[in-house]
Amino acid sequence: MLAHHSFTTTAELKGEHHMVPEVSRRQFMERFGITIGALGAGASSLLLPGTAQAQTPAPGPKPKGNIPDKPYKTGHMTFFTGPAAVLGEPSYKGHMLAAEEINAQGGLLGKRKIETLKADEAAGTDANVKELRRMKLSENIDCFTGVISSGNTPALGPVAEELKVLTLFDDGCTDFLFEKAVPNPHYVFRVTNIQSADGIMAALAASTAWPKITKIAHIHPDYSYGRNAFDHFNIAMKKLSGNIEVVSEAWPKLGTTEFTAHITKTISAKPDLLFCSVWGGDYVALYKQALKYDLYKKMKVATTLAFGVAPHALGKDHPEGIVAGVHANYHFLYPAGNKWPLNAQFVKKYYERWKEYPNFEAEGAYTSLYMLKMPVENANHLVGGWPEDDAIIAMLEGLMYESPAGYVYIRPDNHQGYKDAITGFAMQSKDYPFPIHDPKRVITVPIRSITAPPGYAKGEPTTTYKWIDETWPRVS
């Protein structure tokens, strides 16, 4: 068990294996590989549309063998209606951008044009399951992508396995998917970071920026995402700050846009920090109302998804200095500029195509399609002709891909994508009509530091939770 983590403390050297080791805060940060602002500093101006050097991605190696020119059908399911459409629309746009680019080069392996069937995730789990079956059995899709809700991937994952349809989920990031719903995936992959990273990143950012906080207030949507954020934030904080105290909790229903009573309750508890995982239109309403109560003057604030919506959905009135989460995945200004040209190119192309900036859903959907393209090319290189699904899957397992958000690694054992997690601090900039991450204070953490490693014994509520509890040292 101890072999899975990298801490070696005096206590452990003495053989006291059952004690939770203690380290200093600086040791902790160093060993976690947490970086603050290192790559993003001063790069924002490079990112205005038109300044980055956009390149067409180089076509892959010349395809081997005989490739049919029959279109490659993908089914992309995301929210087109309902409150979550604010995340669904960017997801669809990211997908379409990638499809258009690939098709401009003749399609996959230069022959197979990508054709997209779209489906509304808001139709409900029952209808979504039926729709996936219809797409595969009746429309013969070759690949299934999208899905935002963490209630839907556990429903659709097993169905995709049954249908033997190659699936790349862009989101729906619940730990539950690969821990319980599809414990031994073959056809199903997920590209974005796992949900538990959200709460942990917020805890790391908050305790790094404000080491003295002890009293915490919570506002979370009352469903599994909110609870996941609550649990992982708390367990991480317990290790990072020792004596934290939860002074207030509020659990508004998902879809609530009236938070006045939650805000008053939070203020009256006089916390040092508010941790909040409200997202989408709910979050927009929450921050606007909280401003009017001077909440931001009275406490620090950390969020998991403040910048989760498309950037332009937030206003110039958004408060500065708060931890503005991006689902631990991606913000369009990071990695910035020429430090990571892939992102600059992506942002520019996305902006030119859709006249707006991408969010993490857009990047996730865009990357998913490219993460299909690459294994197809690799497999073709090995065996020639159009590769079987199993060949593509073999190439996907263990794939390391350079995405706009950095390196993404697909772990072969659970098919989950891992990349360095990211969060940042909100600031208003004269360059954008909406708030962005303060480029000097972007926080990244190698994902291995905040998620349970392969083979770690499963636990409740998640394996990562148990892993943190058992193996993280406590900051003294």
């Binding site: 929210f79 087109f80 209606t81 309902g82 409150p83 459409a85 604010v86 669904g88 629309e89 009352d222 207030s248 909790e249 509020a250 659990w251 508004p252 229903k253 879809g255 609530t256 846009t257 009236e258 006045t260 009573a261 939650h262 008053t264 309750k265 203020i267 009256s268 989408g280 239109g281 927009v284 309403a285 606007k288 109302q289 009017k292 109560y293 001077d294 919506v309 498309a310 959905a313 206003g315 009135d317």
Partner: protein
Amino acid sequence: MDTLLSQILNSLFYASILFLIACGLSLVYGVMRIVNMAHGNLYAFGAYVAAWTVGLVAGRLPDVNPVVLFVLLLAGALAAGAAGAVLEPTLLRPLYKRAEEYQLLMTFGLLLVLEDVMRLLWGPHPLTASVVSDALPSVSLLGLTYPGYNLFVIVIGGVAALALWAFVYRTRFGVMLRATSQDMRMASALGINVKRVYVQAFTIGCLMAGLGGAVVMPISGAVLGMGVDALVLAFVVVVIGGLGSLEGALVGALIVGFVRTLGIMYFAEVELAVLYLIAAIVLFVRPAGLFARA
């Protein structure tokens, strides 16, 4: 102390929005015996139209007097009222001779249609127009910071309640309305133009819903799905207060407003369930609601 005052104001604020939604639902039921399931979406429609109108004007004329923006909120109410004036004669009137199930189903169909029409017109992103709420600065009293706009909404809720009461109990039209609600045939025999009373009642009901949407929009935004949520809340209010009763809508809104705040303050874990539980308890004890008239 400041927390208490603040929470009382919050409860009143929430109650006044609830009242604006629920009174229309109750009025329409009282007069026409129709439970309008599309009511929540007319509330959402009011919010969208108000946000769109304010956004349009504030975008073109950045220095416009804030009073103008407040007046523009009325566009939401008027648009929802106009929608009601069109929908009643065209889609509901042909159904009065039929079993009441059909009226319910018609409005359920409208709920689905309106949901997508709003997405079609305004897209998936929330529309906000916080210029309106920003125009009223937060007020400081007794060491408490309270949003001025919320106070404005409380006043609007109170004024709406008074105006509606005066309208129903103090005007000639109100007399016709009440006569029709008590006995439609008798009213008709007495020479009241029931057709006209129906379309007017429905229009006023929708207008109130639209007004609710318009005044809540500057702080909550106009979001897809807000209508369905509002409908369920309005149901809870009228179930508690008694379907068809304006007093019931008012008392129900106050009860829900205060109980919800209490729930958030002291029983955060059950916030989601607490409203349904109150509704269920009222239904067990007094199934037709506190101000029942059925």
